[in-house]
Amino acid sequence: MPETVSYFLMAWTDPSLLLLTAAGTLAGIYVGALPGLSVTMATSILISFTFAWDINQALALIVGIYCGGVYGGSRTAILLNIPGAPSAVATSFDGYPLAQRGEVGQAIGLSTVMSVIGGLIGVLVLASVAPFLAEMSLQFAPRDYFLIAGLGLLLVGSLSAQSLARGIFAAALGGVIGLIGLDPVTAEPRFTLGFTNLMGGIHYVVVMIGMFGVAEALFQLHQLNAETVRQKVDRIVPSLNLVLKFLPLSIRTSIIGVIVGALPGTGGDIASLFAYDHAKRSVKNPAQPFGKGAYEGLVAPETANNAAVGGAYVPMLTLGMPGDAVTAIIIGALVIHGLNPGPMLMIQTPHIFWFTVGNLVLANLFLLIFGLTGIRIFARIVELPRAILIPTIMVLCVVGTYSLNSSMTEVYWMLGFGLVGYFMKIYGFQMGPVILGVILGPLMDKSYRQAMSSVGNDGTAFLLDLVTNPLSLILTSAVILLLLSNTPLRRVLSRRSR
């Protein structure tokens, strides 16, 4: 036990580790805030730099970048309606309306505190039940991922504002975009029209930057001369009452985040969308309606995506299996440093686990400090005249997309999606469902085919599996319930029972 405590406090007491965690968190916030620069990229570049370092130093820096980066995505989502990362897409739904109402300060303040609460709940789960959660996550078979993807696609109802038909169209469009590239099973080119550059598919961040960034910038040209909203920046740190009011919701959405994050096939992007949907269903009377600047719509995704960080570490630290792309790179770093990430990691190098836990807690505290300072300057960004802001956004979109894979083709795609998104916006389509489709389409495609080939392409056996396995049965019931609750059938039934 005293050993555990000393491992836990390693990053707190060693000045160089403390400094690296702080620097990582601060850098992470900005990496995460810029669309296109991702935590995955930042960590993979860092691995080369940290080659000669001590492994603990490398891990401390990466933990900081990871926590800061996941949080940072919310910044641009709130300020400019451009999510800095896919896991902040849901944050923009209510965050940006808040900015338009002049509440940037409050929105960033609240999202910071909530991110930290989510992050800490994630670490708590990691520290207490990691081995149990890891074993549980292994039980998810391909068919269960198929059901999760199905459950996720049903969120289109929550994301499509007024017109469900437009929402379904947008999600289907996203799904098709997600299928472009070499077929994962047969390596047959799909929708590539013979272009080699399309064989790798279209990165969903390219779609996201185009549809959110460029489309939004073009859309704002309509109000080029409109007065910018004056931002109230007097109250930034949310009151204790406000935090306590959202605490039950944030605990629920954090748990969603940590579980979805711990599943090796899903991460913070999907978790935050589920959390947003959960908030929309469970909160009956928000002060502002969802989509128009509900605080709950900000709390849910922000807690979930930060809790997913703790979740992603669960399979990595207990089994040596990555929980997402970032933990995959951390595993690579451990290998390069001569450690053996696997089920024996906790036995052979017990300090890694508690060091990481302590380090994550520390990074979350730094997040609170860095997140709550400098908000006034950020609020000014929104007050900039549009003639300056819009070109800046355009430049950021191009640079961000190019830095993704140093590919000009992707920049052209991004601009193309920007144009499509602009016209979709004009005709009342939402961008959220498109991203939902791009993320979930490939997951559904992959998991459906894995599940089908597992049962020898026997449709009956596949359907039987969905209801005979306990875990699958729970998910199947959730899909059916969600479907029924969204259809007129429910209204008919509830009227009859009354």
Binding site: T43, G181, A328, N340, G456
Partner: protein
């Protein structure tokens, strides 16, 4: 007139400058290394642990970029479309040697100049520890009695598991359900959860799970037992005919554009030879169950040709090749 002359002179000097840059002072700026697989994978790990040692030998920075996608076609395509001046390198795996046979692309490593064949990985056929079979022979017996029932983890056409299955099928019959995952990682996760029955894996990925007793090795794809897994039977125990294919395994290579000047190829080859020979890097390969090769020039070309002919014909014999190696002019092994 004077302006035109001056412009002409400037262009000439500029061209001269470029020529002398490419020949004499190479390298005089940063080099870009394009990795054809994603971050955190085996190719990425090899590239990132090797590069610092090469940077020392070359006295310049090598900036590494991952360009994954399309079984590595995207990354290779990118390097082939860059100028042949030695400032863009490809860190690749074995996959390009199968592009023509699988009709993924018309080119392979013979359309580039190899700088170094870094090393060759070992392949182990692994199953969850709670399965009844103890070796590949048991698994084959079961599969013969229950054809088309076993679920094999795969990574898609052209991936390692599919190639190993094709090799087995060219000497025996193993009728399985092919469940495709995005890589070794997701495949191992599915093995641990019991959602698939076995999977041919690179030893580097599977070793830790085997040592922890969660997976069991049914066979290593080698003639003799290997040091890293002394208890795992060699594949020739169950399938003696496999011997003609061995030694075989996935490999990692650094290559450049085909038209790169010889002098630059020489400089790079020398730097990579030193880098791969570095003791720390050798230890890294050993820890990951890989065999260092460090081949250059003709030796590297022979290795690539031989690997391609063995693998392409195994795929053809198992009926998995889309384009016959005969048609492509790949000689029989």
């Amino acid at each position: 007139m004077i302006r035109i002359l001056l412009t002409g002179l400037a262009v000439m000097v500029g061209t001269l400058g470029i020529t002398s840059e490419t020949l004499a002072d190479y390298p005089e700026r940063n080099i870009e290394g394009i990795i054809q697989w994603g971050a955190g994978g085996a190719t990425d790990n090899v590239a990132r642990s090797l590069t610092p040692h090469v940077e020392k030998a070359l006295d310049t920075d090598i900036v590494l970029n991952n360009r994954p996608g399309g079984t590595g076609v995207i990354g290779m395509n990118a390097v082939m479309h860059k100028p042949a001046n030695g400032y863009t390198l490809l860190y690749g795996a074995e996959n390009p040697q199968l592009y023509p046979v699988l009709d993924l692309a018309s080119y392979d490593y013979s359309d580039m100049t190899p700088i170094n064949i870094i090393g060759q990985g070992l392949v182990v056929i692994a199953a969850p520890a709670d399965k009844d079979w103890d070796n590949l022979g048991d698994l084959l017996d079961y599969a013969h009695q229950h054809p088309g029932e076993l679920r094999m983890g795969s990574t898609g056409k052209g991936g390692l598991p599919d190639t190993v299955l094709a090799m087995i099928n060219s000497v025996d019959s193993l009728d399985v359900r092919n469940v495709t995952f995005g890589g070794d990682g997701p495949g191992i996760t599915a093995l641990l959860g019991g959602h698939i029955d076995f999977m041919p894996l690179s030893l580097a990925g599977a070793q830790e799970q085997i040592e922890a007793g969660r997976l069991k090795p049914l066979a290593v794809v080698a003639k003799e037992p290997v040091d890293a897994l002394p208890d795992a039977p060699p594949i020739t125990q169950a399938l003696p005919e496999m011997e003609s294919y061995l030694p075989w395994g996935p490999f990692w290579a650094v290559s450049v554009h085909k038209d790169t000047p010889d002098q630059i190829v020489k400089t790079l080859s020398e730097a990579y030879r030193k880098g791969v020979a570095n003791r720390e890097f050798q230890q890294f390969l050993k820890n990951n169950g890989a065999e260092p090769l460090n081949l250059q020039g003709e030796e590297a070309r022979d290795f690539l040709k031989n690997w391609q002919s063995v693998t392409a014909w195994a795929l053809e014999n198992a009926g998995s090749a889309k384009v016959s190696p005969e048609e492509l002019g790949i000689p029989k092994p």
